[in-house]
């Protein structure tokens, strides 16, 4: 078959479709978004009726996936690393219930925080839940591992976690496909108590999970994705995880590493292989993108911990993603850097697009908040987080999805009145509704701005789950109708908007202001699609 040129994300999606996927569940989040988008745009998925629209958040996505697996079908659930925090409850418990139809959870980590608020390493979550983890080194492995992962999941009736970093998610390369197989038919679990985690049943399931660990380890010892490649120079053995393998090879033009190399692509770690390397080599170098996950575990085995080199002893920087140069430095290979960056260089941070509706919202908010001391605007995650930067410097927080409303509420509880919340329409549907209910129940004097640009803009314009329902949701949660206002964020309405906001700021209860105007990037995208359609493509 001819090779396809695919992003790592797309390779996972194509792998899932070819492995007999019945449904994919996700909320958009960089760098994981393109997995689900690929399925949404795939003719193969359309013809096979693969379920693929967006979920309200990662928790609802994970639970729906668990339900599809319960019914016996193969399912994938995708998220960025911090999305796994949102889905942690069903994720942790899915290890106890186990799976029925093959279930793969994909977590896309973002070391170096290209587009995230932290660089947490999802492998810890996999270990925490005690389920197997797959970590591909390249796009082809990403494709191949999905088929393998579904088979593993169905063989042991356990969800499998696949972990990829941004660099693999968003890098393209040639991928060779296998023949596609059919989806599963509906088949319920043999034991209908499998998913009932009453303490008495849950204890049995947990004890089963603990017993299965030995089998997972055995699979890891024999996996095609864990390879011991011997080398003559035993002064150093190298354990290399996922994409770091490429950076290691890059430093040897003939692709021949003189040291023994243990390439890891599947966890739990293959203990026997590691013990062999420990006994045969003088020193160990651990190359892994993300946290020193493997390094910490191996150091735990040793009385002579100084034998292990990696992020913890400073051989590799403690934070940030790996690259070929960092690996070269750790191996003592000569620096290859080119010319220095000229002294005149300046940073060019991202900024809001010209004509973006958020600009008008921030201008209005800045004006109404000017009489008060600074530091009263709690915000959230989306394009509008750029309101923290020059020239607006409007917002004072960005923590996690939905935290704007709840933090503003907490601040008013502490006596900081007025405090306001600024949240996007999609983020509101993801995690804002429950916080709004808390504020209503406490009659907190918060003014909540739901910036409605009718899309999930930052991740590339996906459908926003609460599109067309925001006012009804606010009313349903208990916000008084008189204190819900839809305004037009445009320069010509600035005065009028400021007046409405000022009135609501004075109100000693929950009010919601909805500046509504479609994202300009989205409008352009729709126009382009129209032209394409007109040209019949």
């Amino acid at each position: 078959m001819q090779k396809l040129l695919l992003l790592g994300d797309e390779a996972i999606a194509q792998g899932a479709l070819d492995a007999g996927l019945s449904g994919i569940y996700a909320y958009p989040g960089t760098p994981s978004t393109e997995i689900t988008e690929f399925v949404q745009n795939s003719r193969q998925a359309f013809e096979n009726k693969v379920r693929c629209s967006w979920s309200a958040n990662e928790k609802t996505a994970m639970e729906a996936a668990l339900g599809m697996s319960y019914a016996g079908k193969r399912v994938m659930v995708c998220m960025k690393h911090v999305g796994l925090n949102v889905a942690a409850d069903p994720f942790m418990n899915s290890a106890i219930t186990g799976a029925n139809g093959g279930m793969i959870v994909v977590a896309a980590d973002d070391p170096s925080m290209h587009s995230s608020q932290n660089e947490q390493d999802s492998r810890f979550f996999g270990k925490f839940a005690m389920i197997p983890i797959l970590e591909p080194a390249n796009q082809q492995e990403a494709y191949d591992m999905v088929h393998y992962g579904f088979d593993f999941s169905e063989k042991y009736k356990i969800p499998v976690l696949m972990r990829i970093p941004t660099r693999l998610a968003h890098s393209r390369s040639g991928v060779e496909r296998n023949t596609a197989r059919k989806q599963n038919d509906i088949a319920l679990p043999d034991n209908l108590r499998q998913y009932v985690l009453l303490p008495a049943y849950a204890r049995k399931r947990y004890s089963h999970l603990l017993k299965e660990q030995v089998k997972y380890e055995e699979e890891s010892e024999n996996s095609q994705f864990n390879r011991y490649i011997d080398g003559d120079d035993k002064s150093r053995g190298i354990i290399v995880c996922g994409i770091a393998y490429n950076y290691l090879l890059e430093n040897y033009p003939e692709r021949k590493v003189p040291f023994p190399v243990l390439k890891i692509g599947q966890y739990p770690l293959p203990k026997k292989m590691i013990e062999r390397m420990l006994s045969e080599c003088t020193e160990l170098l651990i190359l892994e993108d993300g946290y020193p996950f493997v390094e910490e575990m191996i150091k735990g085995f040793l009385s002579d911990a100084g034998k292990v080199k990696g992020r913890l002893d400073g051989t590799i920087p403690r934070d940030g993603e790996l690259n070929p140069n960092i690996v070269a430095f750790a191996l003592g290979i000569e620096e290859t850097k080119g010319l220095d960056i000229p002294a005149l260089m300046v940073n060019r941070p991202p900024s809001l697009c010209s004509c973006c509706p958020h600009i008008d919202s921030f201008n209005a908010i800045n004006e109404v908040m000017a009489p008060f001391t600074k530091g009263r605007v709690f915000s959230d995650i989306g394009c509008y987080t750029l309101g923290a930067l020059h020239p607006f410097e409007t917002i004072n927080s960005c923590v996690d999805m939905g935290a704007s409303i709840t933090m503003a509420k907490g601040a008013t509880d502490a006596g900081l009145v007025p405090s306001i919340a600024v949240i996007g329409d999609s983020t509101f549907s993801h995690s804002g509704m429950t916080g709004l209910l808390d504020a209503v129940n406490d009659k907190s004097p918060v003014t909540v701005f739901i910036l409605d640009n009718k899309t999930t803009a930052m991740t590339g314009g996906q459908d926003s789950p609460c599109n067309g329902k925001i006012e009804d949701i606010c009313k349903g949660v208990g916000v008084e109708e008189a204190h819900i206002h839809v305004i037009r964020p445009l320069k010509k309405y600035h005065k009028e908007n400021v007046k409405i906001i000022n009135e609501e700021l004075a109100y000693k209860g929950v009010s919601v202001i909805i500046p509504r105007r479609e994202c300009v990037v989205n409008i352009n995208k729709r126009t382009r699609e129209k032209i394409k359609k007109a040209n019949n493509i």
């Binding site: 490429n246 070269a328 080119g338 960056i341 991202p350 900024s351 697009c353």
Partner: protein, 195 residues
């Protein structure tokens, strides 16, 4: 054969289009390739870069090691200088001279051009002006691709074919403009090298 290319610009300037044309050509020639892209937050008017690697041997890393890139292809002059530590000693910088000013502390353009002209191997051209003459300012990125084409070690006709394929969705007129832009960029470099 090996070409390691750093593509540079500002989010929205079309460096991914350049990458996909070169990438498509590479695949047609049966070469290996890897291309890392920037998605997410930095696309909103921030500096963006893409590492494009092409080789007749299998490629290991998605990222080009520092000092190993053969080319920096930039659609913006300030951005052409940001990734210099990535360029090898004999490497070329091909860049547009038209500044994209979306920050208040943008350095004086004359100073930037002076830095570019002090580089041992560079091609600097007014891509937008040339693109306008070819029919559309929007084809400035293709002018830059044309100017970079002599350094790609790929037959020029193959690049033309890639443009025909990739722009087929946009109609004949836009394809013709882009082909013209590609030629105009190529001519600029050919004349520059002859002098």
């Amino acid at each position: 054969m090996k070409r390691d290319i750093i593509l540079a610009g500002v989010g929205g300037q079309g460096i991914i289009s350049i990458a996909s044309i070169i990438g498509f050509t590479a695949l047609q020639l049966g070469l290996y390739m890897k291309q890392s892209e920037v998605h997410g937050m930095s696309q909103r008017g921030g500096n963006v870069q893409s590492n494009l690697r092409i080789s007749d041997k299998e490629i290991a890393s998605d990222l080009i090691p520092l000092g190993k890139a053969d080319l920096i292809i930039s659609v913006e002059p300030l951005e052409s200088l940001r990734y210099l530590p990535g360029l090898c000693k004999d490497g070329w910088v091909i860049t547009s001279t038209k500044p994209y000013v979306n920050i208040t502390n943008y350095p004086p353009i004359d100073d930037i051009l002076k830095e570019i002209k002090s580089l041992p191997h560079h091609i600097a051209l007014e891509a937008e002006t040339i693109a306008k003459a070819a029919g559309s300012v929007k084809a400035a990125n293709i002018v830059i691709l044309g100017a970079a084409s002599p350094f790609l070690d790929m037959a020029f006709e193959k690049l033309e074919n890639a443009i025909r394929f990739i722009f087929r969705k946009k109609g004949e007129e836009i394809t013709a403009i882009n082909l013209k832009a590609l030629h105009a960029g190529r001519n600029f470099t050919d004349q520059n090298m002859a002098n």
